[in-house]
Subunit: 344 residues, 2 copies
């Protein structure tokens, strides 16, 4: 590590990625990014939680299929989700018989998983590693806010949890995009207590990790085709740009936020945008990775963002800590640009 | 990896470990293993959840102090706990300003954290990594079963969640014990649905991972001074030995279970024993690591075990998947015994 950033000298490759979504995602502007859309929020199961498990499993199976792999071809899987005890993941993958490490980074999970998968491959510990995460609107509403039947009103700053999952396969093979570096985030808590304004809680964490990655790599914002955040939504995105503005840096033309990409603000009732671990995951797997593979994007900085609250401690009056793990993904492998340091 | 096992060719060292406990733990036979005992279940805070955060933070600070380190001396921290959204950890560490990766393995968290910390150090990505986890009886009862005020009766197979935390610092320095190898567990679900009998749910996972580590390393059970499981308790421990017996292997004289060590069955009302992520963590940090450092133990196989249920899906009629990550800890570093393979 240099600073808080791991440099992958063997530049592991994302050889496959898949995104699966629900009806809202299929009705939105990014519908073409999904390998499969499920109209039924139960996914033909009896409960929303079982549905989320099936959604996550479908993303894993699509990612494996696109790389012509069986589950046995994966040495280690890293995954987690927003449900209590990450049951979306553990129940989703329990029949796959793949060595598994559970991770929890709320909506930042996809970059945490990608980083750890890259670590396994870069260090020669695994030939192929898989990262996966998901979220489900109905299961999340019930757990974090109110059961849908209650018909609760959502505030203008609230975001709509995506019913989506994304899975990536990382390998030492040579196929763009490559994972060049990853910045491990720190827990950042600026005192925001409004659980219906998570964009505001997460923006400082995204700012901290993006700035750290730029500092540790010595790269400028302009080096990247896009600086992408997970799910800050409208409110958090504005705050992020304002935080950079205080440093005299204007990232507005480069900044993309998965939370403002997934749905149509005009045609879908999503208030400040999308959220949920599946939001950043599906946009990374279904939109950004394909554009990096084709060379349309040469380099992106992808910083998924997570609000680490629980309803229990929030009800106890606590503020909302947040975290963001940032990854540099590139069309070119490491050999094209020397990395002069591996360790601090 | 060979099989499902990572071999650490640079054999990272556990240079520091600390355990912090509550009143029950201080009243038990392992009281001497704790760096600090807190009589107050609130830890001078207002809620049990805040108390757990303080407990976890104290374990981190003790582990740092014993290695004469400041938080800046840690490149990456890996941690998680049993509370929804792992808030025991995220709120506990939010002021420490250490790069953080959240993990979730229920009561197997300590070996997952130790494994990933070792990966960061072995691969040269970090100079020092810290792993931490905790559990809190009062917070866990309220979340998983009933609030204490309800006065619910506990069944004979139930286990008592430890109010305890353990933290380890892993480094490339030369100081025993060393982490020689780690087996990534698979999710194992044999259909047990009784959330008050988690030992039975977890025993097959422990069996699977211990057998896998023995197979992948080529070591026999007798090579180890102890084969330790996390918190199978009385019921799960008996099942584990029976599972090995079916293979013609008698591990009874070698087997230790943290869940049967932490409390006195005669003097403390703990039914089938102890459980909770802090159980295995505190026994590893406060009992086994010191005995490996002194050379009293030369090699142990430590397999923490986690039940990956949530109360929600359990109430929906689901069975309980479990996982166990196993680690080989040794008084001797890798140079004393050649590891002939790193990858499959």
């Amino acid at each position: 590590m240099k600073g808080n950033t791991v440099f992958f000298t063997n530049t592991p490759a994302v050889i496959s990625s898949a995104a699966v979504g629900g009806k809202m995602e299929g009705d939105g502007p990014m519908c073409q990014c999904f390998d499969k859309i499920n109209e039924d929020p139960f996914f033909s199961c009896e409960t929303f939680e079982q549905g989320e498990s099936k959604l996550l499993k479908e993303a894993v199976l699509h990612a494996l299929s696109k790389a012509s792999l069986n589950p046995e071809g994966i040495d280690v899987m890293l995954g987690g989700d927003l449900l209590n005890q990450c049951v979306g993941t553990t129940y989703g993958i329990r029949e796959l018989d793949i060595p598994f490490l559970g991770i929890y980074g709320a909506c930042s999970t996809v970059t945490e998983g990608l980083m750890l998968a890259s670590l396994f491959v870069d260090g020669g510990y695994a030939d192929r590693a898989l990262a996966v995460t998901s979220s489900h609107f109905c299961a999340a509403e019930r757990q974090y806010r109110f059961p849908l039947n209650y018909g609760g009103q959502r505030t203008p700053t609230s975001q709509y949890t995506a019913t989506a999952a994304g899975a990536l396969v990382v390998s030492a093979e040579r196929l763009p995009p490559y994972v060049r570096a990853a910045t491990v985030g720190k827990v950042v808590d600026m005192g925001v207590k409004d659980a219906a304004n998570m964009g505001a809680a997460m923006a400082p964490a995204a700012y901290t990790s993006i700035r750290q990655l730029l500092q540790d790599t010595g790269l400028t914002p302009e080096f990247f085709d896009a600086i992408v955040t997970g799910d800050l939504g409208k409110v958090g995105s504005r705050l992020l740009c304002e935080l950079f503005e205080r440093d005299g840096v204007d990232i507005r033309s480069l900044h993309r936020d998965c939370g403002t990409m997934l749905y149509s603000f005009e045609e879908q009732d999503v208030h400040a945008g999308a959220s949920g671990a599946g939001c950043a995951a599906s946009m990374l797997c279904g939109y950004f990775v394909p554009k990096l593979r084709s060379g349309e994007f040469k380099n992106i900085l992808f910083a998924a963002t997570g609000a680490l609250l629980s309803p229990t401690v929030n009800a106890q009056g606590e503020s909302i800590p947040a975290i963001s793990h940032a990854v540099w993904l590139s069309f070119e492998s490491g050999s094209a640009m020397d990395i002069k340091f591996k360790k601090m």
